[in-house]
């Protein structure tokens, strides 16, 4: 159940429509009566929501003409991760922010260290390193490793725009189970500059292990996320 008052829920809904472009600046919004009928709520509740949005400057009433979008609300500056979010980019999109990404490197390398254990049938693995931005600011670096024994033709896929999981699905090995670990660590020296963060500062450090439906490990990803853009949210339940 949503614990927010109805007028607050309506405020959130109208703001979301403006942020997502359903309403452009200058557009006329639905009348109080129309919203009241559409959502099955009292007209006074609708009026309260609209009044609040006017007071915040997002809407503007023009006498005799209606209520119009005046400005776009600031989007939230935190990205929520966890709780069923599959990939980093999906989380950012759901947060209503403007994400972009570049590929720093993509190459075939000999499996080393733990990768030999994770991908025992693949002496070589792909190493994909990407830098993500939010609203033009560096946000996270991801190092992804996936086995050459299951995947190929990486050069034909645009990893800056496409998700790793879309690529994996095209190759018949979509992750069915993802085990993730989160801890707080110092930013790695080699990434401090590119993430525009001081050395010694803390970051969220994620490790993802992805498995396909045959329980083969198909992905090992390390992700370094700047704290000012990340709030990790989750729910727990008692399991008897």
């Amino acid at each position: 159940m949503n614990s927010k008052a109805l007028y607050e829920q309506l405020i959130d809904s109208i703001k979301k429509k403006i942020i997502e472009g359903d309403y452009q600046v200058g557009d006329k919004i639905m009348s109080e009566r129309a919203m009241s009928e559409m959502y099955g709520i009292n007209r006074l509740t609708v009026r309260k929501a609209i009044k609040n949005l006017q007071n915040e400057g997002f809407l503007r009433a023009i006498h005799g003409k209606g209520t119009f979008v005046n400005k776009i609300p600031e989007v939230q500056d935190k990205v929520e991760l966890g709780n069923g979010e599959v990939s980093l980019s999906m989380s950012i999109r759901n947060g209503g922010l403007n994400p972009s990404r570049i590929v720093l490197s993509l190459k075939k390398i000999d499996a080393f260290g733990d990768l030999k254990e994770y991908f025992p049938n693949s002496p070589q693995v792909y190493e994909l390193i990407r830098l993500s931005f939010i609203n033009g600011k560096p946000y996270a670096i991801q190092e992804c490793y996936f086995p050459c024994s299951f995947f190929n033709e990486t050069e034909r896929f645009n990893f800056a725009e496409g998700s790793l999981y879309d690529y994996m699905e095209m190759h018949g090995h979509y992750p069915k189970k993802i085990i993730s670990y989160l801890q707080i660590k110092d930013v790695l020296e080699k990434y401090a500059q590119v993430l525009e963060i001081k050395e010694g500062k803390k970051i969220f450090f994620f490790k993802y292990h992805g498995y396909d439906k045959e329980e083969n490990m198909i992905e090992f990803t390390l992700s370094y996320n700047k704290p000012e853009f990340t709030s990790f949210q989750f729910s727990t339940k008692r399991i008897e």
Partner: protein, 180 residues
């Protein structure tokens, strides 16, 4: 085991929280066989402000029990934990000794209260002066802030809490199964 000035010091003092399952932090500490104790900072009845009232879904200025403690594990302060609970649910709790065992064990035994689930958020923030002092941190140190609400039956809010922890004390694990 490593040694510091002849004194044995356990390495890697952390607990792994499975975020798919609600569990007591104290139980996790016990399962790793770490020594622990609490230092109680506050144990009082207050009136709720609007933030606590909203989190606990109670009227403004309701009586709430406020309990704050430092969790000392392996002789080092690891976290400061503060909870607010609607006092009607835990009458007389301020008279109990809460310094020696798991808070959730006491709630279960004394009040028959079992926490069913929680909603939590994790952030990294700069430590304030009080936190630096209590956790023996240097200036400019960062801490892990975990805040959330626990729920009892029928998704009824029970407690809102904030945990400020040294950054290496917690690790988190989750398992996500994706449907077809």
């Amino acid at each position: 085991m490593v040694y510091n000035g002849g004194k044995p010091v356990k390495k890697d003092v952390y607990i792994l929280r499975n975020i798919n399952k609600f569990a007591s932090v104290t139980d996790a500490i016990i399962s790793r066989e770490f020594s622990y104790r609490y230092h109680v900072l506050e144990n009082s009845i207050l009136e709720s402000n609007r933030f606590i009232s909203k989190a606990l879904d109670i009227p403004l200025a309701s009586k709430v029990f406020c309990f704050e403690k430092v969790r000392v594990v392996e002789d080092e302060p690891r976290s400061i934990e503060k909870v607010y609970i609607d006092y009607k649910k835990v009458p007389g709790i301020e008279k109990l000794d809460l310094s020696k065992e798991s808070f959730y064990s006491i709630l279960s035994r004394e009040y028959g209260i079992e926490i069913n689930q929680s909603e939590e958020e994790i952030l990294i923030v700069e430590a304030n002066e009080k936190e630096r002092q209590l956790l023996n941190l240097k200036i400019d140190s960062e801490v892990l802030l975990i805040k959330g609400i626990t729920y009892i039956n029928n998704y009824e809010p029970f407690e809102c809490f904030e945990i400020v922890s040294v950054t290496d004390f917690y690790k988190f694990r989750s398992v996500l199964n994706l449907d077809e």
